[in-house]
């Protein structure tokens, strides 16, 4: 059974590469991206083993192990999305013994790129733990325990997250959780970059981490290497107990998922009357704007990222306050304009196959393009002025206000223009309506990265004139600030008009192709 599940994972991996060039490009990018990092970590650990003292080795191994575990637990939730291919819920209809399924799904976690990376880092940690014969022996048991702990914890957390996110209430909670994490990220970075962390503090943090369940396995060989046999063996024992507890926990989560299978989209709701449809103009463009606005209010795939995008620039308040950074204050509206501008570059992808209604109605491209921008435009109309004025209120020079506002509006309008074109050219796969907003589509990473890179580069390139004026204003040329306020929005308006025209043309010619793309993505 266990071998079966691992073979299933391998087949899934191979088939995802068969889907086409984009998937292979994505995999290559992923390998280059993550592979370099992993190999650097591995080489660093081996080098440290060759030269380092036991004290440094202990710090490195415990830090590496704890970061690895945290990475496994947190990253899938927020960045890559839970891997849905071996979702335990999918096994609900098969009569697989639960223990076999639990072990099989656990070990299949090591198959694939993240698994491979983990094993390589694990090997590095093992090498770094071989300071003495005793520590080597202990490491032989401790490192596999540590790795198992990683994957188990990650499995439990993703399975729980999936069930929490199944309810609408849970999604709201998750949205605020993501925000809280974001807010916490600010001070951490500020602390780290401000030199607030000394070697002493770091040692202290690592020592504490070594005594948490996340650190037991990694600290055990180090204790032995430094001669504390009892402590080391106690840690090893604790680590073994921890893995056992996790395994039993994983089994329980699994059996509850298998015995109470549920569909993620089990939400219900109602709304009285026509809502936005009654308030916006009764034209095709107004209707599309009302539909987009209604979706942004109701659909967690859209409103969670939207809220994050709106609030992300506020993270710049931290360096602004802790370090009196004027640049951070001036940057807030600019970042806001940049993020909101091209946020809808993949909007048709979120329609999924419901896009047929637009195709079959013969709606004109301009209405479709401009109507879709409504939610972003509303958010920008609220957020941009607030962020722009917040800067001078908190201490940046008022003379820079026109510059920051001008550059921000330039980014926003250029982003709108680019989004109008790209969302009529190529859409990448996004979670389908009702799907967990944190799932990723296997094999779509390459296309996603490609489209996003092109969008970001295009928006930045188009904003260069306004940016140059903004930089001049920053260096004290007051005329440039006002020039930025004229040139940025002016050129932005031109880009938007051209983008809408071009996008409308492409929409008219390519709508059937777009729809077939969306059909093939299901």
């Amino acid at each position: 059974m266990v071998a079966h599940l691992i073979r299933l994972k391998l087949v899934l991996l191979r088939n995802s590469l068969r889907r086409g060039a984009a998937a292979i490009v994505g995999m290559v990018v992923g390998v280059l991206y993550g592979g370099g990092l992993v190999l650097t970590a591995f080489a660093g650990l081996v080098a440290l083993r060759a030269t380092g003292e036991v004290e440094q080795l202990r710090l490195a191994v415990v830090t590496g192990g704890v970061v690895l575990t945290l990475g496994w637990t947190v990253l899938p939730l927020f960045f890559f999305g839970a891997d849905p291919t071996l979702d335990p819920g999918r096994f609900a209809t098969f009569a697989v013994p639960e223990r076999a399924l639990a072990s099989g799904l656990l070990l299949s976690g090591f198959v694939g790129l993240p698994g491979l990376a983990t094993v390589v880092v694990g090997l590095g940690l093992f090498v770094a733990s071989t300071a003495t014969v005793g520590s080597t022996l202990v490491a032989l048991a401790a490192v596999p325990l540590g790795l198992l702990g990683c994957v188990l914890l990650s499995r439990i957390v993703t399975a729980l997250a999936a069930s929490v996110l199944g309810s609408r209430r849970g999604r709201d909670v998750a949205g605020f959780g993501a925000l809280a994490l974001l807010v916490l990220l600010g001070p951490t970075i500020a602390l780290a970059s401000g030199g607030g962390v000394t070697a002493q503090v770091l040692t202290r943090v690592v020592d504490i981490a070594a005594w948490t369940p996340l650190g037991w396995a990694w600290a055990a060989p180090a204790h032995v290497a430094e001669g504390r046999w009892t402590t080391g063996l106690a840690c090893l024992l604790l680590a073994a107990v921890w893995v056992l507890v996790l395994f039993l926990g994983w089994e329980r989560v699994l059996s509850s998922v298998l015995r109470n299978p549920r569909t993620v989209s089990s939400q219900s709701g109602s709304a009285r009357g026509l809502g936005l449809f009654a308030r916006l103009p009764a034209t095709p463009m107004g209707a599309i704007a009302a539909r987009a606005g209604t979706y942004w209010l109701r659909d967690p795939r859209l409103n969670v990222p939207a809220l994050t995008t709106m609030l992300l620039p506020a993270a710049l308040l931290l360096p602004a306050i802790t370090e009196d950074s004027v640049l951070a204050l001036v940057g807030m509206p600019v970042v806001c304009g940049y993020l909101l501008g091209w946020s809808q570059h993949n909007d048709v992808g979120y329609d999924s196959t419901a896009f047929w209604m637009h195709v079959s109605s013969g709606v004109d491209g301009v209405s479709d393009r401009l109507g879709r921008l409504f939610p972003s435009a509303v958010m920008a109309a609220v957020a941009l002025p607030v962020y722009a004025v917040l800067g001078p209120v908190l201490g940046s020079p008022w003379s820079l206000l026109p510059a920051s506002l001008g550059v921000a509006i330039a980014f926003l309008l250029n982003g709108f223009g680019v989004a109008c074109v790209t969302s009529a050219v190529k859409q990448y796969a996004v979670p389908a309506p009702g799907e967990n907003p944190f799932t990723s589509r296997p094999g779509s990473a390459g296309l996603t990265l490609g489209v996003q890179a092109v969008c970001g580069a295009a928006v930045t390139a188009l904003t260069v004139p306004a940016l140059v004026l903004g930089v001049l204003a920053w260096f004290g040329h007051d005329w440039a600030a006002w020039a930025a306020l004229v040139v940025g929005p002016g050129l932005g308006a031109v880009v938007l008009v051209v983008g809408v025209r071009l996008g409308a043309d492409l929409f008219a010619r390519r709508q059937a192709v777009l729809l077939q793309d969306l059909v093939s993505m299901r």
């Binding site: 009357g273 009764a282 539909r291 209604m357 195709v359 079959s360 109605s361 013969g362 009702g434 008219a508």
Partner: protein, 256 residues
């Protein structure tokens, strides 16, 4: 006397997906005022054909014309004449039923008052008035088909193209839908529907075409096509009935 353009005219329609030929030059004329059934086994190319006829899928070759308007050369004019109920595509199901039908009307550039009047009337006729404030995602399969039909009808099309309109629909809803379709045809409209339920097609359609492997095997009035036997016999005849079920013996031996 000038010849009247058929409601739907397909000429040499072809579509390939990679190496698979989905529709292999297909010609079909649907006369005005007919209730036309398209039948065929699974994978015969019914959905592909209807998608190409309504502007959802660009054909590799051939033309499709609705009441004399080429769907791919003058899509806006052609689409204004078509009401469509596709199969297997999503709806904007985070809208309420009333919002969705209103959306379909406004997308067609209709006036707000007219949309409101027709939406209320359609929802009432289809028995969806009580559910109008519920999100479409919470609708049952039958209700979803009905609300899609309302979206297809709101702009007063001359040709209705329905892909599997009765699939997963209970008998009560099916009767409502049938009633509306008959009324539509009596008023001079044309209905094209696809199905693989022969009985149903035989009962409600005036004309029928049998499609298999991307080609029309037989077409005409129901009486012409079925000849002496039933439509199902003729269908199996043309498509090729499978041999008797062999094997699976273990299914018949119940051990307990």
């Amino acid at each position: 006397m000038p010849t009247v353009d058929p409601a739907l005219s397909l000429r040499g329609l072809t579509k390939r997906f990679g190496d698979t030929i989905a529709v292999d030059p297909l010609d079909l004329d649907v006369p005005r005022g007919s209730f036309y059934g398209l039948v065929g086994p699974n994978g015969a190319g019914k959905t592909t054909t209807l998608s190409m006829a309504t502007g959802l899928l660009r054909p590799d070759a051939g033309t499709a014309a609705v009441l004399g308007v080429d769907v791919w050369r003058d899509p806006v004019a052609a689409k204004a004449r078509i009401g469509l109920l596709p199969d297997g595509l999503r709806l904007f199901d985070r809208l309420t039923g009333e919002q969705l039908v209103t959306y379909a009307g406004l997308l067609r550039g209709m006036d707000r008052r007219l949309v409101a009047e027709r939406t209320a009337e359609l929802l009432a006729t289809l028995g969806l008035t009580d559910a109008r404030d519920k999100l479409v995602i919470d609708y049952s399969a039958g209700m979803t088909k009905k609300v899609t039909l309302a979206c297809a009808l709101i702009h007063g099309p001359r040709l209705l193209v329905l892909d599997e309109p009765f699939e997963a629909v209970d008998p009560v809803s099916a009767r409502t839908i049938r009633g509306i379709l008959h009324g539509f045809v009596e008023a001079g409209g044309t209905v094209v529907l696809s199905s693989h339920v022969m009985d149903l097609v035989e009962r409600i359609c005036t004309d029928v075409a049998i499609i298999a492997a991307g080609r029309v095997r037989a077409a005409g009035t129901v009486d012409e096509v079925r000849g002496a036997g039933s439509l199902e016999d003729r269908f199996l005849d043309l498509v090729g009935a499978p041999a008797d079920v062999e094997g699976l013996a273990w299914l018949r031996t119940s051990s307990d």
